[in-house]
């Protein structure tokens, strides 16, 4: 049974019909990637799932068969769907430690929190070194790590990652993707990954969806997609 299931997802920005009936599902323990060009609707999909956008009646978003569609953002987080927004939006004026603590805002279990903090510092040793530093003064890569670490502090059932590679040096992108893979293997965290860097995303994902102007145009096994001529031509540079 799918952990996160999305049926017929529509989003309107005023007159503009941005998502025209998206169907996708993410199974327990999977990394699923949603790839596509600029303005295809990748970020919109994630924002709709996490409750930051309103969706019309016919759209269905379910987590373990529980309806999330009409919930407001803070209730969606409480159910365990945690969004790491695009562009590494850390709380610039809080320290690294405070940012991580904010991530555990919705949690009640203190013991689990301490364990997660240890795990995050093990995953990102750099964050441990800089725990007292203001988040705004971290480098781009460190901020991305912090944004992911902060989401992990909420003990997610599903982690929604929006373009973790954006604006990072290639060598850092590789490190971030290694971490995502490691996270999935070690903790079994289920991940829905939105990426422009399709090649990297398909390498670590088990399945993928290709979105174009609000429609899913292709889907399937990640390896098959990465060799699909249409995908190669459109997103992988031939």
């Amino acid at each position: 049974m799918a952990l996160l299931e999305i049926q017929n997802l529509h989003v309107y920005y005023g007159q503009i019909h941005a998502l025209k009936g998206i169907d996708l599902h993410v199974d327990q323990g999977e990394i699923v990637t949603l790839i596509g060009g600029n303005g295809a609707g990748k970020t919109t999909t994630l924002r709709a799932i996490s409750g930051l956008l309103r969706t019309p009646e016919e759209s269905k978003i379910k987590l373990q068969n529980e309806e999330l569609t009409r919930l407001r953002a803070h209730h969606v987080v409480e159910r365990g769907v945690i969004h790491v927004p695009e562009g590494r939006r850390v709380f610039a004026r809080m320290s690294v430690q405070e940012n991580l603590t904010m991530g555990a805002y919705a949690r009640a279990d203190r013991s689990g929190m301490d364990g997660d903090l240890d795990f995050i510092f093990q995953l990102f040793p750099r964050l441990k070194e800089r725990r007292a530093q203001l988040a705004g003064t971290l480098s781009g890569g460190e901020q991305q790590m912090l944004a992911m670490g902060r989401a992990l502090m909420g003990n997610p059932k599903v982690l929604l990652l929006d373009e973790p590679s954006m604006g990072l040096a290639p060598v850092l992108v590789e490190a971030i993707f290694d971490t995502i893979e490691l996270l999935n293997k070690q903790r079994g965290t289920t991940i829905l990954l939105v990426e422009q860097n399709a090649l990297m995303a398909l390498q670590i994902a088990s399945r993928g969806y290709v979105i174009e102007t609000g429609h899913i145009v292709l889907s399937g096994d990640a390896r098959a997609l990465s060799t699909d001529p249409r995908v190669r031509e459109a997103y992988l540079g031939g």
């Binding site: 996490s50 409750g51 930051l52 407001r72 953002a73 803070h74 209730h75 987080v77 409480e78 945690i82 969004h83 790491v84 927004p85 939006r89 850390v90 709380f91 610039a92 004026r93 809080m94 405070e98 904010m102 991530g103 805002y105 919705a106 093990q122 995953l123 990102f124 040793p125 750099r126 530093q133 203001l134 705004g136 003064t137 971290l138 480098s139 781009g140 890569g141 460190e142 790590m145 902060r150 989401a151 909420g154 040096a169 060598v171 850092l172 590789e174 490190a175 290694d178 971490t179 490691l182 070690q186």
Partner: protein
């Protein structure tokens, strides 16, 4: 001026010219003429002279500092040149006034002004030359001062500042000080010269000692074990409270009145601090809640307004207070609900409109039987305990003090609570805060309501203290003032709100001489603050850390692209 290009005499002349333009401006708006009547030291020094020579000195001092960075030899000529140019520009104005009638454009450009600008009994070209020479001499003094050790220099500045302040505040100080001290220090207008010397020496020593001790003391307090530090803090609070309790006796009626005025603003600033400083929502209509608190208090307690008395019974101050505060709270929630979906600039404009709506409502003729219209309401109830009724400013002071303590307690507890951290997260980034499971609407509403409640409290006390009020007291300037208090004090900081209110509301009341130019000085202070101390006078710890750490860290941000290998565990 952070370029590597060496500082030249041309730069010095340019800065001198800026100083000259400022001096001309000060003269043309009428400050020079007005302050010539304010004696600092009787028959010796007027405020106008302090202003003009002080300006020339500042220009010289800045230029000497900059020039000395390049070569020490340049410092003296550069400083003297800059100060001389400042004075030359001003004497040109004096000459121009003599030659051409400028009064059709600048009403203050009178022959009297020209006489004031030029030193002594001189006039014409000779006077201009003398003034320019005096400028060069001031530059020389500025140069000499760079050889004086910093601590002594600060002492000198402290002494001079004290003399000027004593001279300016003569009217305020005379009623407070004992008669014998008065006679010793002051003549009918200005300090006696003996008094000036005594004040100067006293404050020279004080600022010298302060500069020496301040660093030592802070480090000592930090070294104390936590328990003793707590005791020290407790003792400090106790002493502060005792002083605050005795204050109205020391201050007398006029200064207590000023203290009350500051108090109203402290309460409002603490409230607005929750909205703007904690939660980051720019509210420009804050005066609305102040007005609602004041009007609720007035309407419920006044014996006038027969129509209202038919509907509602006349209450006492104490009975009406919870209603006044409650009305403001309710208004905060009612306005909050539709408005909180907007952000930033839009929120600011909507609240601005709301503030005006409230003001126009209380002003309107249609509501005159209920709210008093343009004439306002008189006979507002006073606080009464048994047979004792608070009427004068000194008695009201205590009520306001208690309200400030309550406001301080509430907001400081909120700040360090889970709620406070949620507000901080919302201020930083609303979307991410929502993604952390923070209920945006609920928490923003709470911030808005808390702010409104404190404004209502301040308004209710204000109405009762005044005994009568008019709609004109609730114009948009109140909102702007409270915001300026926060900015100058330090956004998000509680002590900042207090310091800001004292500086922006209290000082102008004390320096009555400036009253005519109040907004002029106000604007200059704000510009200066934003350029030189954007974090405020008493900033929040985070803001200091942000502004200064960010500067220090800036060099390495984004250049450490070294791979961070995920740990293998």
């Amino acid at each position: 001026m952070k370029s590597d290009r060496p500082f030249t005499l041309v730069d010095a002349a340019k800065l001198g010219l800026y100083g000259g333009i400022s001096a001309i401006l000060i003269s043309l708006v009428g400050m020079t003429a007005a302050f010539a009547k304010t004696a600092i030291i009787a028959d010796l020094l007027t405020m106008a002279q302090v202003l003009i020579y002080g300006l020339a000195f500042m220009v010289g001092f800045v230029v000497v500092g900059r020039a000395a960075r390049g070569s020490r030899g340049l410092a003296l000529p550069a400083g003297a040149l800059a100060s001389a140019v400042t004075m030359l520009s001003l004497s040109l104005l004096a000459l121009l006034i003599g030659a051409v009638n400028l009064r059709t454009i600048f009403t203050n450009a009178t022959a009297e002004l020209a006489n004031l600008i030029l030193p002594g009994e001189t006039s014409g070209l000779a006077g201009a030359l003398l003034l320019t020479g005096a400028g060069a001499a001031v530059g020389l003094v500025a140069w000499l001062l760079t050889f004086v050790p910093t601590r002594i220099r600060n002492g000198l500045f402290g002494g001079i500042a004290a003399v000027v302040l004593f001279g300016l505040m003569q009217d305020v100080l005379v009623p407070i000080l004992p008669k014998s001290v008065d006679d010793f220090l002051f003549e009918s207008k200005g300090l006696t010269w003996v008094g000036a010397v005594v004040v100067f020496v006293l404050f020279f020593i004080l600022s010298y000692l302060y500069a020496m001790r301040s660093q030592v003391r802070i480090s000592r307090l930090d070294k104390l074990p936590p328990q003793q530090r707590q005791i020290a803090r407790f003792a400090f609070t106790l002493v502060a409270l005792i002083i605050l309790t005795l204050l109205p006796r020391i201050l007398g009626p006029f200064l207590s009145e000023v203290a009350n005025q500051v108090g109203f603003y402290i309460i409002m600033a603490l409230g607005l601090n929750v909205v703007v400083g904690f939660a980051g929502m720019l509210d420009l209509g804050y005066v609305a809640f102040y007005a609602i608190g004041a009007y609720t208090m007035a309407v419920l307690t006044t014996p006038e307004l027969p129509i209202m008395r038919e509907i509602l019974p006349q209450l006492t101050f104490w009975e009406a207070l919870p209603f006044a505060v409650g009305a403001a709270l309710l208004a905060g929630i009612l306005l909050g609900i539709p408005v909180l979906k907007t952000r930033g600039d839009y929120l600011a404009i909507i609240t601005l409109g709301f503030g005006e709506i409230i003001r126009l409502l209380v002003l309107s003729d249609a509501l005159k039987p209920f709210l008093g219209g343009a004439q306002g309401i008189t006979g507002v109830g006073r606080p009464k305990i048994d047979d004792f009724t608070a009427t004068n400013p000194q008695q009201f002071y205590y009520l306001i003090l208690v309200a400030i303590v309550v406001a301080w307690f509430i907001t400081s507890r909120l700040k360090s609570s889970r709620l406070g951290r949620s507000w901080m997260a919302i201020r930083e980034d609303e979307d991410v805060a929502a993604a952390m499971s923070i209920n945006l609407v609920g928490y923003k509403l709470l911030a808005f309501a808390t702010g409104a409640t404190l404004a209502g409290l301040s308004g209710a006390l204000f109405a009762s203290k005044l005994g009568s009020m008019v709609p004109a007291s609730f114009n948009v300037l109140v909102s702007i003032n409270v915001l300026a208090v926060l900015i100058v004090g330090g956004m998000g900081s509680l002590p900042g709100a207090v310091v800001g209110a004292i500086v922006l509301i209290g000082l102008p009341e004390l320096l009555r001489e400036f009253n005519e130019f109040r907004w002029w000085v106000y604007g200059a202070v704000l510009v200066f603050m934003m350029l030189n101390k954007p974090e405020g006078l008493w900033p929040e710890a985070t803001r200091v850390r942000e502004l200064h750490e960010a500067e220090a860290e800036h060099t390495h941000v984004d250049d450490d692209a070294s791979p961070t290998a995920p740990a293998t565990a």
